[in-house]
Symmetry: C2
Amino acid sequence: MSDSDNNLDVIRHSAAHVMAHAVQNLFPGVKIAIGPPIEDGFYYDFDKPEPFTPDDLERIEEEMAKIKAADTPFVRREVTRAEAEKTFGDQPYKLELIREIPEEVSTVYEEDGFVDWCRGPHVESTGKIGAFKLLSIAGAYWRGDERNPMLQRIYATAWPTEEDLAAYLKRLEEAERRDHRRLGKELDLFSFHEEAGPGLVFWHPKGALIRKIIEDYWRDEHLKGGYELVQTPHIARQDLWAMSGHLDFFSENMYSPMEVEGSPYLIKPMNCPFHLLIYKNTVRSYRELPIRWAELGTVYRYERSGVLHGLIRVRGFTQDDAHIICRPDQLDSEIVRVLDFVIKILSRFGFNEYAVYLSTRPEKYVGTYEGWEKATDALRAALEAKGLAYEVDEGGGAFYGPKIDVKIKDAIGREHQCSTIQVDFNEPERFDITYIAEDGKAHRPIMIHRALLGSLERFFGILIEHYAGAFPLWLAPVQVVLLPIADRHHEYAESVAGELRSKGLRVTVDTRNEKTGFKIREAQVQKIPYMLIVGDREVEQKTVSVRSRNRGDLGAQSLGEFIAYLGAELGGDLKTAD
Amino acid sequence: MSDSDNNLDVIRHSAAHVMAHAVQNLFPGVKIAIGPPIEDGFYYDFDKPEPFTPDDLERIEEEMAKIKAADTPFVRREVTRAEAEKTFGDQPYKLELIREIPEEVSTVYEEDGFVDWCRGPHVESTGKIGAFKLLSIAGAYWRGDERNPMLQRIYATAWPTEEDLAAYLKRLEEAERRDHRRLGKELDLFSFHEEAGPGLVFWHPKGALIRKIIEDYWRDEHLKGGYELVQTPHIARQDLWAMSGHLDFFSENMYSPMEVEGSPYLIKPMNCPFHLLIYKNTVRSYRELPIRWAELGTVYRYERSGVLHGLIRVRGFTQDDAHIICRPDQLDSEIVRVLDFVIKILSRFGFNEYAVYLSTRPEKYVGTYEGWEKATDALRAALEAKGLAYEVDEGGGAFYGPKIDVKIKDAIGREHQCSTIQVDFNEPERFDITYIAEDGKAHRPIMIHRALLGSLERFFGILIEHYAGAFPLWLAPVQVVLLPIADRHHEYAESVAGELRSKGLRVTVDTRNEKTGFKIREAQVQKIPYMLIVGDREVEQKTVSVRSRNRGDLGAQSLGEFIAYLGAELGGDLKTAD
């Protein structure tokens, strides 16, 4: 973390105290929970019987301004557990935390009579909390657990200067305009349902169609790229997860077992053990390697309901997973090949800027020192061969092997972790997989886990925000909408639609009895790439009047011209549409 | 059940007694379990420490022949529970069953000193058990439950005459040649793994590729046919299954709950509740109907391990599911449309003969009498409009609605249940789904569940047997294999392969250092539709020597000719390849 990050955190954490102070002033008796700094701001959780209103937020902001103006010093004090318990005797959330920590001595910070239990550090005095703004109220379970009481969380932001704040609010506005949760509703792409459980995605027809287009592209590229597809179950006996080691090192992310005929079964959090069972199904020769097996495998992982976020953080998601099992002499070329593939696929979706990280051997590791060196060298060499700038996270690898992580930069500069290339020295040992080499003996192959998009759900969320819902033509669920001006133009509109559909285009006809202007506005809200307006003139001249989502009126074209135009757009390189 | 079925059952059940008698004669002390007639034969389960050998089967058959020759009468006798318990005092499996039945008086049948506890009826005397043959030995858990002891099951068959037996054995040989479990291994299509659990399918690359082709075809036809795709999670809170009623009437087929953050969740046995949640996501207008939502949804259902059978009966399978939600005035046309679709899709896979069943209102039902009449009429009218012969199963509908079931006839005349079209009056009520009609009021729509293939796993098993593994060109995982005669022909072979691949064909090159005859035999075993042999002459003349899997040598062709030839085959109607 950089100094400036540290500085921001101190400002925001101090502003959080001031917010809690202001709330206590205005709403005596409210219980306070926690108020940490977060990315781009801070929040505080309150237990208050009535919901905060937007008016309340304004009043709290004013009260905070007064506390800031008073410029009272933050005073740090060490307290024993008994003292802390006494100080926060009427604050049950604080008490719960105080009673849990192992240390007998902790610290509190006080300004102008308001005391919070806190490690600090803080700014010198309330005058130094910078420029702040309260943003929103949300429900949040205490400690992110849906069995606990629901608290009210006030989100806010704070920055060193008013200019910083203004710039951030502008970025925020842009991010909100692109928020995939809002666009998901507006464009009818997906939903979540409390009846089924949080974090489980329901893909609506338009969303599922985009997913199909992504999956078709993904599968075809994998088949062309020397991969084979496999498909495996979603559940397996608990014993398999003991064998793979996931019960030891991944069980916190796994659900409890279900019973099938007396045996415990677990829903899968990963696909790899299944691919290894297929590998072990027969004796493998060195001639068969490298094996590259890809699966769009849906996995389920435990996440606290408090951390779930739209499509970005969910409980069920489909990994675009593949496992490469190769001989040691094939490792270098396989990694280069994967890295090429990563860039090819990400570019197709309009992501051309990356932040790349190489994570190396941690203190505790499995496999040999030489194996790690060789694998790390292979990863590094591939990055250098591709001319990719990267940061080294020394010792940041998993215990089972070194890895490359690729974060993509979206249209407004935010980074998102997507692709990963991980060498694994652990599972080949645990599953005792081998191949028969030219020497007639059994040797241990190397295994690479890799994902390009990461999770289809998360990637779709990123994609929606990247394009602000205006998907490029090849991904748009509806590519063209016909807008007949009057009933007498319906027949011609349907025949044009039929012609376009026969070219594989996704076309709808808006035959509703509405004004054309209204239909255009709706198509624009739906971010349909092309609107074709047809009236008397178009019917007579056998043309269509083309309107682009981005570029407005493009004038009349013959159907042949328009089809050629779309063909060129679909064949060319993709750009962010918006 | 017809009289002749009854007659066969009596013969077979009597032969089962004689088999148990013979086993007891030869292996005193063996415990006997149950010996029912089954389709095409019978079995008996024995508890014997050492496994039966093939020699044992011969000896048992000889011993049965002796008992048959003695022609001793079967004598029926009523016994009290106490008498039965005494008679079978040393037969723990019989005792377990005797103690479970509610009746105080049961029957035993005796011939030549061998007594079995049995309801009968039996043939008059052992001489009348017909022509029989012992077929195989398999492990079977007592009562099909893997927590119980593993018994030895001897499978056998019996027929009225020697000619019937011979004809059956010929059919059996043909069925064994086509057995999808054997072909699945030989063609490397799929596997099961005890480590993961029985009844869970692992699709290997070639099997998964065929599945992809089937799925691509299925999705594209659905989109063309006015369906939309949706995609839903594999798990949901238990509450949802209470709401849908599955906990009440389907819980025997469901696994026990897993816990997620304190709530019980169940893995889905059906997709319908999820589609209904999407429907309820917004207010629906009469203009939106009919809604047709299709999903390749993987479901998990409990089946006893004893009844699992290859791909045909599994625990995890992907339904090619769709739900149509329509207005009452749309029901007739929607059912005709589905039935057309059923026939179109099944024909594409080479199934052109069907046995169709219409199941009508049972005594207990939900919904109105008029609703049932109307729906049943709609189903009947659709069948008649299509000119499909059908049988009516009076009162055979589920409590929630009438249905059409379509069984397909495979290449050797066996029937397999695949397609189903079910009207459902229950779930729309339970989920309280409505649409706003032209009158501005909320009305209840009608829901149709339908599947065309049934389960992808099961359908794939049937398909393998239908084609005896020789998939038609459009489904073959490898369509063409290049067989270069010597190393110097590799380059040309690869260039031909590249050319064919660019046309979208699936092509491999066998560059192994083996004799051409050997490579042809292997390609034949792999049932690859076309083998292209290339040697000096082909390189020189720019041709390929074409060999068909079915028709042998087709002579030399230019590459252009061969591509045109394949194009015609792929475009034309499909026939059973074998």
